[in-house]
């Protein structure tokens, strides 16, 4: 019903390139998340799907049809905005019904659909209120309801949860996921929050400065980042990055930074052999360490703990490796205090190596 295809789409604002040669296919009924820091072009991309921004170059297709010049009210899309954008002068019922009224549905049908949507979102009792009389979470639901009732073939969301408090955000995430399952339409969701992207998406598009960095499932994006930006944008606390060089040592590849060494496992060695002597950045995710058994040299990080940061369910240890501050995540069962000497075994199958110059992954690029 609604496959969306970006064919070499570029968008300029004056001389600024907001989106640069975007090629992307959004499959029907998919939940696609556009993820990136602010100003990366993700909202512009969403607006181009809605028809709210014109393209500078390239084409957008809905199924087989080019929609470059189709105005938004003709496209079968609904959108939820970060600020909710409820009509301040209309009550909740009229806000939800507005899209249906503009599309000339008859009164009984409008009434039925609005009440159904309201019931699903648990806002039946608010239908007579004005938006100014609602809490943030309630407004969010009204905004969802307004998009839902139209039963659009594409559902667009522009950071819909960023104005909610943390607890509400988590529960709304679950509701949005359920909504996607029950509505069976294509969802395109914009966010800068990696946790939201990882929980909701079927596929994630990571963008930076108008350029797509990587497209993949949440696991692919997290486990096999294709470049340094993707690796460092996802993960909390962020991935630890150490700059050093690759060396060959008895048929095995080794990462060296001063006195610090890390041996790569067999399969990585094969991929890295061609890059001996190259300046690289080694990435170790904070969670990819454990403290069991005796750590072998070349597969462990050892040193003194600078600071222990307890986080309730877990703890972060901050250490210094060859002048670079790193963080590791450990369970609460390990008791540590500032100044302790520790040796942490690194899960070497989960190491990341990036070319220092091109910033591309030498393992997954």
């Amino acid at each position: 019903m609604a496959r969306i295809l970006f064919d070499n789409v570029t968008k300029y604002y004056g001389s600024v390139k907001a989106v640069d040669r975007l090629n992307l296919e959004i499959v029907d009924k998919e939940f696609l998340v556009l993820l990136g820091p602010s100003g990366c072009g993700k909202t512009t991309t969403l607006n181009m799907i809605a028809g709210l921004e014109e393209l500078s170059e390239g084409d957008i297709y809905f199924d087989e049809q080019v929609v470059n010049f189709m105005p938004p009210h003709i496209r079968d899309v609904a959108m939820v905005f970060q600020s909710y954008a409820l009509y301040p002068h209309k009550n909740v019922f009229d806000n939800i019904a507005f899209g249906l009224k503009m599309r000339k549905y008859d009164g009984a049908e409008i009434d039925k659909r609005v009440r159904d949507a309201a019931a699903r979102l648990h806002i039946e009792h608010l239908l007579d209120r004005l938006p100014s009389q609602l809490s943030g979470g309630q407004r969010q639901r009204v905004a969802l309801g307004r998009a839902m009732v139209r039963q659009p073939s594409v559902f667009l969301m522009d950071e819909p949860l960023s104005n909610l408090d943390a607890a509400l955000r988590i529960s709304m995430r679950a509701e949005i996921k359920q909504l996607h399952h029950s509505m069976e339409t294509t969802f395109v969701y914009v966010t800068h929050d990696q946790a939201e992207a990882l929980t909701l998406a079927d596929r994630i598009v990571v963008m930076q400065e108008g350029v797509v960095q990587q497209i993949g499932t949440p696991d692919e994006i997290y486990e096999k980042p294709e470049n340094l930006f993707v690796a460092s944008f996802l993960g909390n606390p962020p991935i630890n990055l150490l700059e050093g060089e690759l060396a060959a040592e008895g048929g095995k590849m080794v990462f060296q930074k001063g006195g610090f060494r890390m041996h790569f496992p067999e399969d990585m060695t094969i991929k890295l052999q061609a890059h001996t002597g190259r300046a690289v950045t080694l990435g170790i995710r904070p969670e990819d360490v454990n403290e069991q058994g005796a750590a072998m040299p070349g597969s462990a990080v050892s040193g003194t703990v600078d600071t222990v940061l307890p986080m309730g369910s877990e703890q972060y240890l901050s250490m210094t490796i060859e002048g670079t501050e790193v963080f590791f995540r450990l369970g609460k069962e390990h008791k540590h205090k500032d100044g302790d000497s520790v040796s942490l075994e690194v899960n070497r199958n989960r190491l990341h190596v990036f070319d220092k110059e091109t910033r591309r992954s030498l393992l997954w690029g």
Binding site: M79, F98, M102, R146
Partner: protein, 320 residues
Amino acid sequence: MSAQSTLFSERTEKWRFKSRFSERTRNAVIFVSSLILLVYVLAPVGWLLSSSFQSEAEIVSVPPHWIPHEPTLENFDAIFFQEFEEVTYDTRRKVDPAAGGYIPSTAKDLMPSMWNSFIVSLSVVILNLLVGIPAAYAMAKIRFWGRQATVYTILTTRVIPDIALVVPFFLVIKNLGLLDHVLSLIITYLAVTIPFTVFILVSYFESLPDELDKAARVDGCSRFQTMTQVFLPLALPSIVAVMLFAFLTSWNEFLLALMFTQTIASQTLPIVVASFTSDFTISFSFINAAGVVAIIPPVILALFFERYIVSGLTAGAVKG
């Protein structure tokens, strides 16, 4: 310890007294200042109103009477009912202005001119809305090439004094063959009021979030429907404010009307009232009565829409 606390409470008392005293002083100063301002603003209007009920003799008497000793309706009677007799050089002594009852020769023009004023003002208001609202919406919400330049150009025309525009306006109106026609006033007043209308509405529309515009368009509104269904109802206070501004500007305008109008076919109220001084003598009582009649429509409008005016003019100034 206790000495200290006594000292402390004494000090508190002192401060309390001080602050209470200073608050009273401040209130008194504010009250007196407002009173002075109020008298300053209202005295001329009060005199206009009072003298319209006085005979000519009473107006010129010394000291002046703020409250008429012998209130009379003869001035209003003259405006609405009196048959007019032309005053010529020969008949000039038939009526003694000082004794009252002197009616200027253009008195009969008062009501027709009021009708002209009304037509002109109403047309200017309607055309202002028809032109100003779409223009302001486009400038505030649609990105088009030259948008900033358009906004600034329109605003710049506001800083040109009317007197500088009189000659070019006159030539345009003359070439259009519209001299002594109400259309000449409607056209020129439109040129004078539109920039202000656009300025107020642009700043108000800009204060409304872009997402509201986008939401409406995704919801199925064309640009025009977005404007009428979403932006118009929200901009009501600003729209009332610009309507009033356009109406009052047109109602009170003198300079352009003086240039372009010659007969009662197009003369507006300010011109006719001014013409009352150009006879052989001046009837203050009659002019004042005419003044009272002239301010009634604007006063009614202002009272009716008063609550919109302030909020409309300041709306959009601060993002809310």
